[in-house]
């Protein structure tokens, strides 16, 4: 038992313990959270309730309408605009990752001036006033010297009023050198369509309503032209019409995601797709499916391309060619499209012309639902052949180069050596949101808004048969000290004064855009589709809807293709490849990747960690190789190999991919950045380094399927990071198979 002394001790110790515990808890108490009210509450914001702003996606050229979810001034999510005729509520992974463009830590936060040697990456932060003064002083001097034509402006292919503003600026300045460049462009297709259909603009391919789609290397579900719109259309064609399921035949040497979705895959030999199309055309005419009066003429023009002869070159069986031709002519409506893969050979235009005439011969699928629906002609594209730009650079014609949203150092073939050519230019100014390979070489960097912070509009090309204009409005306030491209040029115009003030009198780009749309409204306000009685009402509706379009059906405009006119454009033989067959046994086909496109998406971690749809590889470059061919060469999956072309070499791990012809290897474009933020830098390899400087002569578009390569196994360490670990079933009977013999016995 306790005595008195012990009792007191216990009580004392107990109280001290309790006090100590209480005090410790008091010390441990977390800092109180603060409630910070608005000073003046914005009228249109309720904290905790999202505002959605309609705008346009600029992650590729498709021009999908988007809606951006904004809470308390922060963009939180991007979705497709449900009423927009292009995106129809859908949005691809690149579009979703637009948030990481906006909040990317690699964004340029202030205007920069080069202080070190060019290309060393030593820059000094300056104010906007300084930056714009440097540029306008340079422009003034250039013009005073009478060298106004030495100002070159190179942008990505843009449309809408920004393009108009840039054009006006260049005109006022007295320079005709406003150009657009992009690796993945549709110049060949545009050219081929002009030859065959007399249409300068890209048409609407009505995949939605077709019954047989014959696609030559068009990966329309991931990258080709307008993937979101085509994915929607594809879904409708397959499952949206009860009792009717359209068929897809995909012709390509490498099985793309679209190929994997097709009913039939024709693993054609690279470079012979055009010939295959001609053999099909021959069979259509020969078999009597083409009923035109000039049937004899067509037969004469195509006589060299009998299925029997072409079968040898293309390695597609004669019966199969004939079968496709018959099915293509009998099925109505049917549609043949030629994609990125066939347009990227050095005879890209010829291939596309050959594919286009299939639509004509098999029952004139032009202007009908489920065929090719022409769009209204738009102005000529300002695409510049990369060779002529490089010539101008080497001759010293370019005095000042302004770049906007384009990265030619990364997206041109290694053999072009853009980097060396740019050295001849006295002043390079880059208007860019990110530090990339080209911006690194510039002398003055004026950081631009991303598309979520900027005003603008976009005239979709190709549209869906009727014109679609989408408005871009700032969903959030600028995150960094950046400016709108339009504002930069308006500011320059103000600094240069004189004639510019007359041409470009606006105070900022938003005002210019509104003024331009007021003109559009005044011109068209009598149309019955425009119900708004005042411009303010019209403008508000424009912003809340996301744009302006008028659904209308296309009158079936039949075309006539004359044999004599078309013959010179038909392919003469297989596309040529650099590197002889003996030393360089593999064809190299490069494809724009669904996540990185031409490389612009590589700095977004969401896209890096997104497994490739076919191989499930993440965070790197891989080389797709036929498993059997690899085994005979002693190459295992994950081995790092050296790919060498006559022009360069790269190293990357092998990914065994059964959807690959044995004589071909494929590499996705987009990785291998030397300078593009921490997520992209030093990751993978840039396969464009392997390419010769080869373009389609007719358009100047770069051919990225133009060389053969050899591969050597190396012992270099490297890692292939794949999400799907195993391609074997391990006896689990996941895919049930049956031999044709058993099938016949069972099903009769």
């Amino acid at each position: 038992m306790l005595n008195r002394r012990d009792f007191l001790r216990v009580v004392g110790i107990g109280s001290a313990g309790a006090a100590a515990g209480f005090a410790l808890a008091e010390l441990n108490a977390p800092n109180p959270a603060r409630l910070i009210p608005y000073l003046i509450p914005p009228e249109d914001i309720i904290p905790g309730v999202a505002n959605w702003y309609a705008s346009v996606c600029r992650q590729c050229g498709a021009g999908c309408g988007i809606v951006v979810k904004v809470m308390e001034g922060r963009a939180k999510k991007i979705e497709g605009n449900p009423i927009h005729p292009i995106s129809k509520g859908g949005l691809c992974a690149r579009g979703q990752a637009g948030l990481q463009v906006l909040y990317n830590p690699g964004r340029i936060k202030n205007p920069l001036r080069r202080i070190g040697e060019r290309g060393k990456g030593e820059f000094q932060e300056i104010t906007w006033e300084e930056g714009l003064t440097i540029l306008s002083k340079n422009l003034k001097e250039l013009r005073d010297r009478g060298e106004g034509d030495g100002l070159y402006l190179l942008t990505s292919p843009i449309s809408g009023h920004l393009k108009l503003l840039l054009k006006n600026f260049m005109n006022a300045y007295g320079s005709s050198k406003y150009f657009a460049y992009e690796l993945i462009n549709y110049e060949n297709l545009r050219f081929a369509n002009n030859i065959t259909f007399g249409q300068n603009s890209l048409p609407h391919y009505d995949i939605e309503n077709t019954n047989l789609l014959l696609s030559f290397g068009a990966d329309f579900l991931t990258t080709w032209i307008s993937p979101v719109n085509y994915s929607y259309a594809y879904g409708h064609m397959r499952q949206g019409r009860p009792g009717l399921r359209g068929k897809v035949i995909q012709v390509e040497p490498r099985l793309s995601l679209t190929g994997a979705n097709a009913d039939e895959w024709v693993a054609v030999k690279p470079g012979t797709e055009g010939l295959l199309a001609l053999a099909i055309a021959y069979e259509i005419v020969e078999g009597g499916y083409y009923k035109g009066e000039d049937r004899g003429k067509w037969l004469a023009a195509l006589e060299r391309f009998t299925p029997r002869d072409v079968a040898k070159v293309t390695e597609v069986a004669e019966e199969r060619i004939i079968g496709i031709a018959r099915e293509f002519s009998k099925t109505k409506p049917s549609l043949a499209i030629g994609g990125e893969n066939v347009s990227s050979y050095e005879n890209g235009v010829s291939n596309l012309v050959a594919i286009n005439i299939l639509n004509y011969l098999a029952g004139n699928n032009i202007g009908i639902s489920g065929g090719i629906i022409p769009n209204r002609d738009i102005e000529k594209s300002s695409f510049i052949p990369v060779n002529s730009l490089m010539q101008d650079a080497s001759k010293g014609k370019i005095k000042t180069l302004i770049l906007y949203d384009t990265n030619p150092v990364f997206t041109t073939p290694g053999a072009v050596k853009v980097e060396g050519q740019l050295k001849n230019i006295p002043l390079i100014v880059s208007l860019s949101s990110f530090m990339d390979e080209t911006t690194l070489l510039s002398d003055l960097i004026l950081p631009t808004h991303t598309y979520l912070e900027d005003w603008g509009d976009n005239f979709t090309e190709p549209s869906v048969g009727y014109p679609v204009a989408t408005i871009m409005q700032p969903a959030v306030n600028p995150v960094f000290n950046t400016k709108s491209v339009g504002d930069i040029f308006i500011h320059l115009a103000r600094n240069l004064a004189g004639v510019f003030q007359k041409e470009i009198p606006w105070t900022d780009f938003g005002a210019y855009l509104q003024a331009s749309w007021k003109m559009v409204y005044n011109k068209h306000k009598d149309m019955k589709e425009i119900r708004e009685t005042t411009f303010e009402e019209f403008w508000n509706n424009l912003l809340s809807k996301g744009g302006w379009w008028k659904e209308e059906s296309q009158a079936g405009k039949k075309v006539y293709i004359s044999v004599n006119k078309i013959t010179p454009y038909l392919p003469k033989g297989p596309a040529s490849f650099d590197g002889d067959d003996k030393d360089y046994p593999f064809y190299l086909t490069l494809y724009p990747h669904s996540s990185y496109m031409d490389g612009r998406g590589a700095n977004l971690p969401w896209l890096q960690e997104l497994p490739d749809a076919m191989t499930s590889v993440v965070w790197g470059t891989w080389i797709e190789m036929n498993p059997e061919r690899a085994t005979t060469m002693g190459i295992k999956e994950g081995d790092v190999i050296e790919v060498e072309s006559p022009f360069g070499k790269i190293y990357a791990p092998v990914c065994l991919y059964a959807g690959q012809r044995p004589d071909t290897i494929s590499i996705p474009i987009g990785q291998g950045h030397k300078f593009y933020g921490k997520y992209a830098e030093g990751r993978g390899a840039n396969p464009l380094d392997l390419l010769p400087f080869k373009v389609d002569e007719r358009t100047g578009a770069v051919s990225h399927n133009s060389t053969k390569v050899k591969i050597t196994k190396t012992n270099s360490p490297g890692r292939l990071v794949k999400m799907a670990g195993w391609t074997k079933e391990l006896g689990r009977d996941i895919v049930q198979t049956i031999t044709p013999e058993e099938f016949q016995v069972k099903e009769g």
């Binding site: 110790i13 107990g14 313990g17 309790a18 515990g21 808890a25 008091e26 009210p37 000073l39």
Partner: protein, 186 residues
């Protein structure tokens, strides 16, 4: 030795008790706010409805602290000589928001919507206590000047209690899907 163990045990037990008493009853007692704002003066003496200031309570998940502009809306004229009001004025003139201290704080993993509760006509006092009697906002009932048990512990059991039984008086029965995990943990 045996005695020493006894002392140690007593010390550990009382330490734990002391620590927990603080945690449970005193951890979020009424903090001193940057301005000595009185709900009693506003809500009781002048009968200003809650939603006059907390304007988002029926529109959003949060109820909303009144903006400084809102305070100034009245206090440009009313009681301008009070030193506390002059503090408000100085914030307004500096164009700075008033950094109030949060008393009712829910963890990130709880989704709570004021709008749902206000629309179901749950009175504010049900969770926030009789604010109209408080000079300084507190989460404890005050008995003889000593802060005692909290009005609302903001613990899950307390939420569920009302979702299961207490909601009768407002919506006539238990909350639909009221005990579903995803109702509050989204």
């Amino acid at each position: 030795m045996k005695r020493f163990l006894l002392y140690l045990t007593v010390a550990i037990i009382t330490f734990t008790i002391g620590y927990n008493i603080n945690l449970i009853y005193f951890s979020d007692r009424a903090p001193e706010q940057p301005i000595n704002f009185s709900h009693k003066v506003h809500a009781a003496d002048n009968s200003i409805p809650c939603l006059y200031c907390h304007i988002y309570a029926d529109k959003s998940t949060i109820s909303g602290v009144p903006s400084v502009q809102k305070c100034m809306g009245c206090h440009k004229i009313i009681k301008t000589d009070s030193p506390e009001i002059q503090k408000v004025v100085s914030y307004w003139e500096k164009k700075e928001p008033i950094p109030w201290i949060k008393v009712y704080n829910l963890p990130d993993y709880v989704y709570f919507s004021h709008k749902r509760h206000v629309k179901a006509s749950v009175p504010c006092q049900r969770c926030h206590g009789d604010v109209a009697k408080m000079d300084r906002i507190t989460r404890q009932t005050v008995i003889f000047g000593v802060p005692f048990l909290r009005v609302s512990p903001l613990k899950m059991g307390w939420c569920l209690d009302c979702h299961k039984n207490g909601a009768k008086e407002f919506i006539g029965g238990p909350v639909r899907n009221g005990t579903d995990c995803w109702t509050c943990h989204k």
